[in-house]
């Protein structure tokens, strides 16, 4: 038996092993080439789909930007510009109550008259400017409504605060004037920061 094995070993020469190795290497190379081909083809497909998706996203983003610009343009032309005078008038009117206090007697009648004036101006601006905002941008409408309500409530509270002498200019400025300016700045900031979305 051992002799037979030796016999086989003598039949397989080194070149036979080399040939077998070459066949195996060729087979592995072929499999590798096939794998790379299939893998690359799949990768190309994915890249193509991704590239198409990116193109679509870019187109969509461009469309959204265009729509946003159109909305901002309409917002400016139809809502802000036509009411700019009313907004400015509202704040000027509120500042003017300082004269009512400095010329008046700080009586109950004056306090009621001034608070009615302040609320009346607020109602006018709400009707002309606030209500239009609601249909266009409910979120901004809500912010601006809150701004006006806070301002008017604060002014009315200060008017009926018996501890304040609103006839005194610096006191008026500190207690009411600053609130009016803050509200005005906040309103401008909110409109300026509106993105049209």
């Amino acid at each position: 038996m051992i002799l037979r094995c030796f016999n086989i070993a003598t039949i397989w020469s080194i070149s036979d092993f080399a040939n077998i190795a070459n066949i195996i290497i060729a087979g592995v190379s072929l499999l590798l080439a096939a794998y790379i081909f299939i893998y690359q083809r799949g990768k190309d497909k994915i890249e193509k789909v991704e590239s198409q998706q990116k193109d679509n996203d870019a187109k969509l983003e461009t469309l959204n930007l265009q729509e946003q610009n159109i909305r901002l343009q309409w917002f400016k032309e139809l809502i802000v510009q036509p009411h700019l005078n009313e907004i400015n008038y509202f704040y000027i009117a509120l500042h003017s109550i300082e004269n009512k206090f400095s010329n008046g007697t700080n009586s109950d009648d004056l306090k009621i008259e001034v608070s009615e004036f302040v609320k009346g101006e607020g109602a006018k601006l709400r009707k002309s400017f606030g209500d239009i905002l609601r249909s266009v941008t409910p979120e901004l409408h809500s912010d601006i409504k809150s701004n006006f309500d806070t301002l008017i409530d604060s002014i009315v509270n200060k008017i009926f605060d018996s501890g304040l002498n609103l006839k005194d200019g610096p006191t008026f400025e500190r207690e009411i004037g600053s609130l009016i300016s803050y509200s005005h700045n906040d309103l401008i900031s909110k409109i300026y920061n509106y993105k049209g979305i």
Binding site: D108, P138, V156
Partner: protein
Amino acid sequence: MKNSRIINLQDYRTLGSRVFTGRDRGIEVRLASKIDFLEKESDEITIQIPDDIGSINPSFLEEFLLNVVVKLQAEMFFKKFRFQNNGRYKITNDLQEAVERILREETALVH
């Protein structure tokens, strides 16, 4: 005979204050006075305003009267609710403004 109730705002007044302002305060007084429940149980409701009150702002009234105005709408609301107001301050304009605001908000939400 009509079943009528009274809500006296004096009971819900902040000590020393002569005004009712703010949405939060409106909600507080709506809940404390149980106005929504009283409206269901009564044919007529009288809201008494203290004589020395200087202002009841629309922001307060908007929240205080929200549910009853939405339910009754303007015409029925003004029939059912009476405002007793003997002081210098008159609530008419503020009430009108508040009811208008409530109904506009409601219309915007429906559409």
